[in-house]
Amino acid sequence: MLLTQTESEALLLSLKISTVAVAAALPFALAAAYLLARTRFPGKAVVDGALHLPLILPPVVVGYLLLMMLGTREPLGAWLLAHLGLRFAFSWKGAALAAGLITFPFQLRAIRLALQSLDRGLSEAAETLGAGPLDRFVNLVLPLALPGIVAGAITAFAASLGEFGAIITFVSNIPGETQTLPLAIYSALQTPGGEVEAARLSALSIALALVGLTLAEIADRRVRALVGQ
């Protein structure tokens, strides 16, 4: 085996946390993007700004706020644990939540842009052909926005892989539970004589990035071909 146990653990954990983070945030990003792109309501600018907060705030602040809300001794955190059996603090789920939140604006922006650039004329055509609002959303809007959705998910996934501040602040640096690749590199650097380990982990990160980039490019082309672009 090329990788040590710590290394493969960190790699798999990074992939798991990023996947869950992106997948969990996607429906919310889609709903928010739809609201912002297709509807008008009072206070829209405020909502728009608030949804972009994770992008503007330092990740450490986001991690701190999560800890303040969802720590097991905080009311919300205690309630979630007692009623849903859901514990975020010091768990990989918390890491996914932090990464999902931090990268939410990437998904939101990409999907919103895709929805805004959709040709309204196609929707009118579908209406004259007998399609109602939900029908049009499922059969027209979603498939045509798919390149934007995929692009947003890819960007968010890549950003999740690199997330450090919010994760280490909220769920700490526990090997095998919350220690993703960046956190493992940090630990190695804090350990005397850990430079070689840090270099190996960094090389692993670079390899992951290159593979990811290639896969993303392929996915993007496939999806565009699918929707006739």
Binding site: G121, L122, A125, L129, G130, G228
Partner: protein, 358 residues
């Protein structure tokens, strides 16, 4: 089915106040210059635009009535719409585009109808393709098929030819003629091009500055000088319904129309076949006496109904041949030399007869 359209709407200083009825199948041209409000009227009928006031009735269905607060959404109107820019769904194959409206139609056309329309519009070889791989003319045909397959009570074609170049136009026109002659469906054809009206329309509604300025049968309005001046164009010529009478031994085919006979080079059509014939104004010469030796095959005995000077060097003369209106464009010099006046008998020499399908 009778279609009754009445709408009133104000856009700033521009007011649309249009009312007309369509009580025959076939193509009604909604004709007028750009900015006349044609598309607004078409969109109101389809439900894509809600006028401030008015009432739109399709057969026995009231689809819009501002007083009764009735406004059916487009999906419930059974109005097929062919947009100028086709608006095919780019992520679907041609077949799935065609089936989109078909699947959602109540009642749905049967599979034979699907095959018939695919065949009529020559779409068989395109079914597996994506819209991005189609030419402009092919896109128009698919859009036409898609609208037809949604089983509409009325079909609206919004300048379907305007975005096409001359070659593509020539490609799609015969399909539109086939559709007009095959479908027992009323159609509203929105256009600003008089030649398209001459080629396709059965009825004409002239819209200018939001108002209906003239309406009637194409063969009645097109050669009418009054209509031409209302429309702000020069009269293109006459459109007349004719029938194949007999194929003669000398290589000519005799066509009968309401006013006499026309002779054209041998046609490949059986006796009795109805045809649409056009006589362009520039192709009609006038003579006070019947010319003796002349190469033209068609010399019609007519009466001058109206005449007017068109520009510095031309004059238009409206003639009546039997019950058929014909129009001739001659030079102003000839107009004065022949001393043309309403009521005088005159011979019309037709240089060429354009035969359109039907």
């Amino acid at each position: 089915m009778t279609i009754d359209i009445r709408l009133h709407h104000r856009f700033g200083s521009f007011v649309i106040d249009a009312a007309f009825a369509i009580d025959k199948p076939g193509i009604t041209a909604l004709f007028g210059p750009s900015g006349a409000g044609k598309s607004t009227v078409a969109n109101a009928v389809a439900g894509l635009f809600r006028p401030a006031e008015g009432r739109i009735v399709l057969g026995d269905r009231i689809v819009f009535d501002s007083k009764e607060r009735i406004f059916l959404p487009p999906r419930a109107r059974r109005v097929g719409y062919v947009f100028q820019d086709s608006r095919l769904f780019p992520h679907m194959s041609v077949e799935n585009n065609l089936r989109f409206g078909w699947r959602r139609a109540e009642p749905r056309a049967d599979a034979n109808e699907f095959a018939r329309i695919v065949d009529m519009l020559g779409l068989e070889s395109l079914l597996a393709r994506k819209p991005a791989k189609l030419s402009g003319g092919e896109k128009s045909r698919v859009a036409l098929g898609r609208a037809l397959l949604s089983s509409p009570d009325l079909l609206i074609l919004d300048e379907p030819l305007a975005a096409l170049d001359a070659a593509r136009k020539a490609e799609i026109l015969p399909w539109l003629e086939r559709l007009r002659d095959a479908a027992r469906l009323p159609m509203i054809f929105v256009t600003h091009a008089l030649d398209e009206v001459a080629r396709l329309a059965d009825q004409v509604v002239l819209l200018r500055k939001g108002r209906v300025e003239a309406r009637g049968a194409a063969f009645d309005l097109l050669p009418d000088l009054e209509f031409a001046s209302l429309a702000g164009t020069t009269p293109l010529g006459a459109v007349l319904p004719a029938k194949v009478a007999v194929h003669r031994d000398d290589g000519l085919t005799e066509l009968a129309f309401d006013g006499g006979a026309l002779f054209v080079p041998q046609l490949d059509a059986e006796a009795g076949t109805p045809l649409r014939v056009r006589l362009r104004a520039e192709d009609v010469m006038l003579a006070r006496v019947i010319p003796g030796a002349i190469s033209a095959n068609n010399v019609l005995s007519t009466t001058v109904v109206a005449a007017r000077v068109a520009d510095e060097s031309h004059a238009d003369v409206q003639l009546l041949c039997g019950f058929t209106k014909i129009v001739s464009r001659i030079t102003r010099a000839s107009y004065q030399r022949l001393e043309i006046k309403p009521g005088m008998p005159i011979f019309a020499i037709v240089k060429s007869v354009i035969v359109d399908s039907r």
